[in-house]
């Protein structure tokens, strides 16, 4: 199953793009989108392994990851709105209230 290796590499590339995006962007909303990108990469790896091992458990896990991602997006965007209301910015360099 040589093709499944390439699926895993694609998943790794997507995860890396997401991780680099989290590090280099300063806009909090874009950082959130990059986190979604990383979650999607992990989902792709799960589905690939489920296909390779002839198992359904990986697909069930993707289902639960999507649930967690939806919850995370809702709460995170609410936090961003609350921060914007208080500080009028979503630049993560300016959100340093808890910095020691």
């Amino acid at each position: 199953m040589i093709l499944l290796t390439w699926y895993l590499i694609l998943s790794g590339v997507l995860f890396t793009i997401g991780a680099v995006g989290v590090l280099i962007r300063r806009n909090a909303i874009v950082i959130f989108m990059c986190i979604e990108l990383m979650l999607n990469a992990v989902n792709l790896a799960f589905v690939t392994f489920a296909r390779q091992l002839n198992s359904m458990d990986g697909q069930i896990f993707v289902f639960f990851i999507m649930t967690v991602a939806a919850a995370e997006a809702a709460v995170g965007l609410a936090i961003i709105i609350a921060i914007y209301r208080n500080k009028a910015t979503v630049n993560v360099d300016n959100i340093n209230l808890m910095k020691w």
Binding site: V20, N40, T48, N54, V90
Partner: protein, 178 residues
């Protein structure tokens, strides 16, 4: 053969759109490219015989979650100048992040290519799945083997909805008291 060709096309689209998500200046363009990334991932899921996951991917991710993102971007009405300023507080963050990302992708590639992934083979081959039906199997497993995580997921979603409402609502009552 056809599946391999489709994988190459869709994989390239996915990577290019993911790069655009990171490097677009305007957040709304990032959101649009992220939607395209998710849709092409759904095509890859169909290639891997996970039809139900592909449908859920389009509906939940590309539909619900991205609508949430686009709504927040519209609500905050950001223009790019006041978010990503010309100055950088952390001078070496961008180059070092790109170098570390390059190292990470090389390491993932080397490890993946040199590892023989083994595991106990399950009972659900693509033929048997297509006989029963992908969605039926997912439903059966959700309500038998994974019924406890399923219930926990409902509590999690409930807590997330409550938390989002409490965090994002305006503090009208406090203002009236003042």
């Amino acid at each position: 053969m056809l599946a391999g060709l489709l994988f190459i096309i869709m994989g390239l689209i996915t990577i290019v759109c993911a790069l655009c998500v990171v490097f677009q200046k305007n957040p709304i363009y990032s959101a649009i490219f992220l939607i395209q990334t998710m849709v092409s991932l759904a095509v890859l899921y169909v290639l891997l015989h996970a039809q139900f996951i592909a449908a859920i991917q389009v509906m939940v991710y590309a539909g619900a979650i991205m609508v949430l993102f686009v709504f927040v971007i519209m609500l905050l009405n950001l223009n790019k100048t006041d978010v990503e300023g010309d100055y950088d507080k952390l001078l070496f963050q961008k180059p070092s992040a790109i170098i570390l990302g390059f190292i990470l992708v090389v390491m993932i590639g080397v490890v993946t290519l040199n590892t023989v992934f083994q595991g106990t083979q399950g009972e659900y081959t693509p033929e048997s799945i297509s006989q029963i039906g992908n969605t039926q199997l997912v439903g059966k497993m959700l309500f038998t083997k994974y019924v406890f995580p399923f219930e926990i997921a409902s509590i999690l979603l409930f807590a997330a909805v409550l938390g989002a409402i409490i965090l994002a609502k305006k503090q009208i009552i406090k203002d009236k008291e003042v």
